[in-house]
């Protein structure tokens, strides 16, 4: 394995780990809001969260690229006041990746909350416990399979991401070039053997992640609920 191969995988894993961590922190409050809030317009938030499931990655990538460009106000603002350029940078693909993977984390956690009997939350409130105590002591410990599913799916999906990263990050070796892009790049250069190496790793990795998710869910489905 050459340096370029390892470097590409390292960028993929770094991107997937950071995306998963950020989305885990963001996903819990968003999923909690979508499950329990009585806010009438939350359906709009739900639709926005799920948009990346149906939106072509190139469309999201295109608009983010425009937003990051110094020719438009968000990119111009970041460039002028903070000297930050997000287009064709690792930070840029990280932001794109977080937005694009939002539904994988949020929907998994939301399913977990929705499948819990509402009476668990009510029971904790009648015991005088605050919302945060109820969340951390009662709700989250009882949706572990959903949390794990969200983490695994987000991580695996980020590893295999292509369109958004290509649009925002380009394909800069050592900076924004991830494994899925490398496969495309190597095929374009007719290096089928290298493309095959990347592909086999991605194939096995995706299979193992899904195997892990399904085995955990099958184990927890035996767990009797009340």
């Amino acid at each position: 394995m050459d340096d370029s191969f390892l470097q590409t995988f390292w960028i993929s894993i770094k991107l997937a780990s950071l995306t998963t961590f950020i989305l885990f922190c963001l996903g819990i409050p968003i999923a909690y809001f979508l499950t329990y809030s009585r806010f009438r317009l939350k359906i709009i938030v739900q639709a926005l969260v799920s948009m990346p499931l149906v939106l072509p990655p190139s469309v999201l990538g295109f608009y983010l690229l425009i937003a990051f460009s110094p020719n438009y106000w968000p990119g111009n603002f970041l460039n002028q006041y903070f000297n930050i350029r997000l287009a064709f940078s690792f930070a840029g693909i990280l932001i794109g990746s977080v937005i694009f993977n939002l539904p994988f984390m949020v929907n998994s956690i939301q399913n977990g909350f929705s499948n819990l009997p509402v009476s668990l939350k009510d029971a904790s409130y009648t015991l005088g416990k605050t919302r945060s105590t109820t969340l951390f002591r009662v709700l989250l410990p009882n949706i572990k399979p959903a949390l794990l599913t969200g983490v695994c799916l987000t991580f695996a999906h980020t590893i295999g991401e292509f369109g958004v990263i290509l649009m925002i990050g380009g394909n800069i070796p050592g900076k924004t070039r991830v494994a899925a892009l490398a496969v495309y790049d190597e095929v374009q250069a007719l290096n089928f053997s290298t493309a095959n190496k990347y592909s086999i790793f991605l194939f096995l990795f995706s299979f193992l992640v899904l195997l892990f998710v399904y085995s955990i869910n099958s184990e927890y489905s035996k767990w009797k609920r009340f």
């Binding site: 009476s119 029971a123 904790s124 409130y125 015991l127 009662v138 009882n142 009340f226």
Partner: protein, 249 residues
């Protein structure tokens, strides 16, 4: 004169598949009493219990408990569930699958009091089951744990929402006795929702019969259910309830 713990008058519109009416309830509950809300399914008994607990908000009215106002639509007061000193036993028990029996009781206490936990474990015969999680308990043991957990924070008011409805007759009889013992030992004013006449007669000091969104009758169980015996056709709670509806229509 008898000390009144709860004085309430609430209105709440109920929309379910079976019912579409206004719940308009006015009642007083004496301190340390064992009171039952009796009536057909869907008349709003559980809704009333949830309103007292603060889990459901009424459309208008007031709920006064001792010197405190828990809800008053005119004064715009609505005390949070967490700040109402209650214990609530849900129909499905609502036990936490991640906690053991002992962890349930410790979680329920505002300040850890080992003696109170030990008393509850004794009263409800849970001592040998301390480290078991709910999925390793029988239906009767789960019900005992649900009542013990509700009493762990020493509530002024214990609300029981048909807690015995899913149990067999033998277990039910045993637990009725235990609930009565706990009511006496822990001095909590108890409000039970039930549609089982035997259970109501055995446990309650006073009964409110709810029908058509209102209190139809009130009195001690003997007075209320002597009416049943007078009617040779009425043998079951549902027949009795039908007769109440008939006389009120």
């Amino acid at each position: 004169m008898e000390e009144i713990l709860i004085d309430l008058h609430i209105k709440k519109s109920i929309h379910t598949n079976h019912v579409n009416e206004i719940l308009d309830i006015k009642l007083s509950i004496p301190a340390h009493g064992f009171i039952t809300l009796f009536g057909k399914s869907g008349v709003g008994k559980t809704t009333l219990l949830r309103i007292i607990a603060g889990l459901t908000t009424p459309d208008s009215g007031y709920i006064r408990v001792g010197n405190e106002t828990w809800y008053d639509s005119n004064l715009n007061v609505n005390v949070k569930t967490q700040q109402r000193n209650i214990g609530f036993v849900f129909q499905d028990y609502a036990l936490f699958p991640n906690m053991t029996v002992k962890e349930h009781l410790l979680y329920a206490q505002p300040q850890k009091e080992k003696k109170h936990v030990s008393d509850l474990l004794d009263t409800f015969h849970l001592k040998g089951l301390c480290n078991r999680k709910p999925d390793k308990l029988s239906g009767g043991q789960q019900q005992r744990l649900a009542v013990a957990r509700a009493l762990a924070r020493k509530p002024r008011l214990l609300l029981l929402d048909e807690p015995l409805s899913a149990l067999d007759t033998e277990t039910r009889n045993m637990l009725q006795y235990e609930i009565l013992q706990a009511h006496k030992n822990f001095h909590a004013t108890t409000l039970l929702v039930s549609h089982d006449i035997q259970e109501v007669v055995k446990l309650s000091d006073f009964v409110y019969v709810i029908g058509n969104g209102k209190i139809q009758k009130q009195g001690n169980p003997d007075d209320i259910f002597n009416l049943v015996n007078a009617d040779p056709h009425v043998q079951s709670p549902s027949r009795y309830l039908d007769s109440i509806s008939f006389t009120c229509s």
